[in-house]
Amino acid sequence: MIKTAVCIKQVPAYSDGLMDPNTGLLIRKGLEMVLNPNDLSALETALRIRENYGGKVDVFSMGPKHAEEVIRQAYAMGADEGFLLTGKEFAGADVLATSYTLSQGISAVDDYDLIICGKGTTDGDTSQVSGALAEWLGIPHVNWVSGIKKLSQKTIQLCQEMEGELYTVKATYPLLIAVEREIYTPRMTNLKMKIAAKRKPVKTLRLQDLKDQKEIHYGLKGSATRVEKIFPAKENRSDTEPIRDAAGAIEELAMLLKPYAAGRKAKQRVDE
């Protein structure tokens, strides 16, 4: 029986990169919000572990009230319990403050064997929260996990993909892993569970529910970094050359891409 916590986040479905110049925060108003696609893979990993080895899958999210929607989506995929860390004190958090808040929330609920994060979010895109969270929790972490090979009550064997090489890593619990998006194809939300999810409670965790209640450790106040500017990459049309001949396009594209093709050698090592 493995107790798993999955961190999920609600993110904009797309963004023009518009930023509030006063706060340095992304403008999310008016944008459709979705469950971070990389977190779907994390959740799918957890659900498959539960299906094969038993246990429970809880989800944690930090965000405003409407972030409840992603927890309900997680319920519709099969998550057991969901916790929303919410409150104005948590707003505007960077990696440091976000990971700390999540660590406080997770610790307040249970001692989990496994914590699973996605590779990164599509909005912040730092991919740093998973490692920072593990540090706050004082547990080891393994990033770039591309597969679960074997699992027992005491140990887990993972595939880790680094720089074109494949490693097999064996670790004990408690452990945090950050999974690659392609690890598993996430299941679709189930209709029966989606209907039930509307009535299933989402537990709210506020500052007063956490062990550390000092506001200065959370949100914008607890952040070590400030975003100065967000802007979409500028297109440099002077370097572009249109390919006009459809017939020759494939050959021309292949020639252009050849220098960038990485030859992948999968080399397996077992590290314990």
Partner: protein, 485 residues
């Protein structure tokens, strides 16, 4: 004279000699006008030389409507801007758009307009690169007419350049709109601008896929759904602007052959790559969407559908349900991948045998149960000895509430192709006898011309010829479409 805009046909433009039907035509020159003035100048140049012109949009049509039959091609793809979005005193949202804009560009463009993020244009023929002009010219309808009504109900006006090079605006209520310009495949004039009627996006949208291990169970589900929720024609809101509390917007049938074709192509299709494989036991899939302003009411309809599906043998643990635009878009992309995958398969087969054009039906049989309709098709497809001996493959997908199914044949030989055509003709005659629509949304183009001519009443054909004589007496516009004049 816009002689510098008129380009002699060269190898690099050979793609413009075809459309999605697989048919290839001929043309001596091509142009890409970027304004009405350029269009007029090019057309009058051609008219002076007696050169027929074929008007093209996105070339996504499947009946050869955009395939040139000699002469000059005028490709409208560079007339692709959005113009004014205005809100009338009555609260209507009207958007002026160029005809060359694609369905996808239109959807994305509306979001970027001031006040546009809460609006959408309901007609959805599923092909994202279909041009607005092409949608109007072919009379395309799409998958949500059952709730939102027909495409023409969402068009306020069209601006037309006639065969003299003069421009005029035709309102939707004008007789000419429906009788002359909508669905007429460019035979009577060239669309240069369109005024669209947008609507407020539904606050809540659910997309639900049900799977059935027996096809017969899916037919029963379809009939029960139609009985409970109507066919849409009576339940559509009276006004295009009326709020929708909660209603079924989409109801599509997809058979196993189509599912397999999509899954084979899925790894190469970005939008649907993340959709998991469908259980191999599923013989058919029915995809529905529920739209409305009331999330609770939408959820209640979903529950009712779930109950009906269970009573028809569908496993409730396997039904998918998504919500929100992004996820709904993914499911619609899956649905659109069906004809796309068929087209790609046939393109491959055409390399061996060029005459194997897109071969599918576009008929709507009214006043008939869904099960009854499928049994009718299957009797011909499965039970006939000739079909069994020929080895001709086929697949069925389409719109349940309109009894509007696309039977697509997948021939590998000329004999199989000919057999498919015979069957389509026999169904067309049967459809006509029960006052069904033989050609519902794809247009006649050049490929379905024989089907149309052989099943339409003589007065209808004569009226079309007279109309051609009136609006395009020199016969230069889109020669060969619909019927030979």
């Amino acid at each position: 004279m816009e002689s510098d805009k008129i380009i002699a046909m060269e190898d690099q433009y050979r793609d413009y000699l075809s459309d999605e039907s697989g048919m290839t035509g001929t043309a001596g020159s091509i142009s890409f006008p970027e304004s009405e003035d350029e269009l007029r100048s090019i057309f009058l140049t051609m008219k002076q030389g007696g050169t027929p012109v074929t008007i093209q949009g996105g070339r996504t049509g499947i009946v050869g409507g955009a395939v040139p039959d000699g002469g000059h091609i005028i490709n409208m793809s560079r007339l692709n801007k959005l113009h004014k979005l205005e809100f009338t005193d009555s609260g209507a949202a009207l958007l002026e758009a160029d005809p060359g804009i694609t369905r996808l560009e239109l959807t994305e463009g509306i979001q970027k307009l001031k006040g546009g993020h809460a609006l959408f244009w309901p007609p959805d023929p599923t092909e994202p690169s279909a041009s607005l002009g092409g949608i109007i010219a072919s009379g395309a309808q799409g998958i949500s007419t059952g709730l939102y009504g027909r495409t023409e109900e969402h068009i306020e006006a069209v601006r037309i350049m006639d065969s003299e090079g003069n421009f005029r605006t035709v309102q939707r209520d004008d007789t000419d709109f429906g009788a002359v310009y909508f669905g007429s495949e460019g035979r009577y004039g060239i669309i240069t601008k369109v005024r669209l009627r947008l609507r407020k996006k539904p606050d809540s949208m659910w997309g639900i896929a049900f799977f059935f291990e027996q096809k017969a169970d899916s037919y029963q589900f379809a009939d029960m759904l139609k009985e409970k929720f109507g066919t849409g024609k009576n339940s559509s809101p009276k006004s295009v602007d009326a709020e929708i509390h909660a209603s079924i917007a989409v109801c599509e049938y997809i058979d196993r052959v189509s599912i397999d074709l999509v899954e084979e192509r899925k790894p190469y299709m970005t939008k649907i790559r993340s959709i998991p494989d469908i259980d191999s036991e599923a013989a058919a899939m029915i995809y529905t969407e529920i739209h409305g302003s009331d999330e609770e009411a939408v959820s209640e309809i979903a529950e009712e559908l779930l109950e009906i599906s269970v009573s028809c043998g569908s496993d409730p643990d396997k039904a998918w349900a998504v919500s929100g635009e992004t996820e709904i878009d993914k499911m619609r992309s899956f649905r659109h991948a069906v004809p796309e995958s068929i087209n790609l398969l046939m393109e491959k087969r055409r390399k061996r045998l060029p005459g194997l054009l897109k071969q599918g039906s576009d008929m709507s049989f009214p006043q008939m149960g869904f099960k009854e309709l499928l049994n009718l098709y299957e009797k011909d497809l499965q039970d006939q000895q000739e079909m069994q001996e020929s080895g001709l493959q086929w697949t069925i997908f389409g719109h349940i509430r309109e009894n509007h199914l696309h039977i697509n044949f997948l021939p590998e030989t000329q004999e199989q192709y000919d057999l498919g055509n015979e069957l389509i003709m026999s169904w067309a005659e049967r459809c006509r006898k029960v006052s069904g629509a033989v050609i519902y949304e794809h247009g006649m183009g050049k490929i379905r011309k024989p089907l149309f001519v052989n099943t339409a009443d003589s007065p209808v054909l004569e009226e079309m010829r007279q109309r051609k004589q009136k609006y395009d007496p020199t016969g230069l516009l889109n020669k060969g479409n619909s019927l030979d004049d």
